[in-house]
Amino acid sequence: MKKAIMMNKDDNVATVLKSVKKGGMVAVISTDNKLVKNIEAGKEIATGHKIAVNSIGEGETVIKYGESIGTATGRIDRGTHVHIHNVRSKVKYEGS
């Protein structure tokens, strides 16, 4: 089975270690290589890209490394590809 790694136990996304096809099963592992859960990929997800481990509501925080990496711009179901189409940065440009 294809694997995805969860960098922190509080994360709601995992990084896919080898690209997975739509409908393929993904074994989500922790940093000490233990199985956390199996999930089904909602669409094709490439190596290095993220998959939702839990469903994330619109406006909720997307968490990786136990920290915010942005806000969900719409509802993200479990198994969905999580990327620029459904996440927005929380960092504001502070230039003059």
Partner: protein, 395 residues
């Protein structure tokens, strides 16, 4: 826990025992190089300092040169000077002397090039001979200071080589050692995370000031970095936001409390994890780490097309006195494994855990500290001029 190293009269033990020839200024590189070439085993550290540096850059250059001379990996120092330079051999010698033997020759004092050459060679022969008499002894792991840098980052290094390096950093801090990581530009977007780990308000403010200054400088340059980060290549690789990219970079320092924020080349005053306000340019940063007292450097690599420099076996090639442990993160680059000391790609193939690779990096600290040659050290002699970091006006 111990390693076999070189105990020093004042300060931590070294992992190497080099005798260096250190020019006070770039103008005198030719003479320093010639003196070193006449004595087997001596290491010339030629660099680009010039009198055209002002204010903070001049102070930083002075701190860097003193830091090079006082690093534990150095047995003794021969300074080579002109006599007219902004940072003189006499003032450097005075700062280095409490830590180790230091000698100086200058053209002004000796009269001309040839007489300085002759005297320099005679002194250097004696220093090298003395260095060969030093016996290695059992040294405490708490003596170690490790510098950490990443390069060619991507979504893969952010989950393999960087977190594994961070695990090794955490283990060393637990055992009483010091870890320094840097690259101020890479904190942007994740500075609040590191700031939360600061041990007190002063450290937190110093850290945020570094990042805010950098943001201001970028804005003053007319560049909107937040609009272009992550880059197209990063996005194609799976990185979504600047905070995700920065989190993947700062994880290389581990998760220990942040004990202090250092200037470029400044030495940590205690044990634990430190952040150095510095550049992302590898050779300049390594020099800053060495000046801060690092006896070993880790270079954690991402992979793929944006990081072709990872395949250059000795990159960066300026500092033969600082052993560099190179970590390869991407299994797609496995054909280049021979250029690396540690392979973290098995994390991506799901065969080993981040924690296991972290432990093997930590164990490599001991082997390298006790004398094991790193890949970079084992390569032949291509060297580049050391670049002392400057970011201000050059006259």
């Amino acid at each position: 826990m111990h390693f076999n190293g070189y105990q020093r009269e004042n300060g931590p033990a070294g992992t190497r025992n080099h005798v260096i020839v250190l020019p006070t200024i770039g103008c005198i590189n030719e003479l320093a190089s010639e003196i070193a070439s006449m004595v087997k085993g001596a290491v010339p550290l030629l660099h680009n300092h010039a009198c055209i540096r002002l204010g903070p850059d001049l102070l930083r250059a002075r701190r860097t040169l003193i830091g090079i001379g006082t690093n534990p990996n150095i047995h003794s120092v021969l300074l080579v000077g002109l006599g007219c330079e902004s940072i003189t051999a006499e003032e450097l010698a005075e700062e280095i002397l409490p830590y180790k033997r230091v000698e100086a020759v200058t053209i002004e004092r000796e009269g001309n090039y040839n007489s300085t050459l002759e005297k320099g060679v005679a002194i250097l022969r004696e220093l090298v001979k003395k260095s060969s008499e030093v016996e290695k002894k059992k040294c405490d792991i708490a003596d170690l200071t490790i510098g950490i840098k990443c390069g060619g980052s991507g979504s893969v290094s952010a989950i393999a080589s960087n977190p594994a390096t961070g695990q090794a950093a955490d283990l060393l801090v637990e055992k009483g050692g010091r870890v320094i990581f840097s690259e101020t530009a890479e904190l942007i977007g994740a500075e609040h995370v590191l700031a939360r780990r600061a041990v007190d308000k002063a450290v937190r403010e110093k850290l945020l000031n570094c990042v805010n200054r950098m943001k201001r400088e970028i804005a003053d340059y007319g560049v909107n970095i937040l609009g272009s980060e992550p880059t197209k290549g990063n996005i194609a690789g799976g990185l979504t936001t600047i905070e995700e990219k920065s989190l993947g970079a700062i994880i290389k320092g581990g998760n220990s409390p942040l004990v202090g924020v250092l200037e470029y080349g400044e030495k940590p005053s205690s044990k634990g994890l430190y952040f150095m306000d510095g550049t992302t340019q590898a050779s300049q940063l390594f020099l800053g780490m060495f000046a801060a007292g690092a006896q070993i450097q880790v270079f954690s690599f991402g992979g793929g097309l944006p990081a072709r420099f990872r395949g250059l076996p000795s990159y960066p090639c300026g500092l033969p006195v600082l052993p560099v442990i190179k970590v390869l993160g991407n299994p797609e680059d496995i054909e280049e494994r021979e250029y690396f000391d540690i392979y973290a790609g098995d994390i991506i193939s799901g065969e080993v855990s981040v924690k296991e690779v972290g432990k093997s990096i930590f164990e490599e600290f001991f082997r390298v500290a006790s004398g094991k040659m790193t890949i970079t050290e084992s390569r032949a002699g291509y060297r580049e001029l050391l670049q002392l970091y400057a970011n201000g006006l050059l006259m």
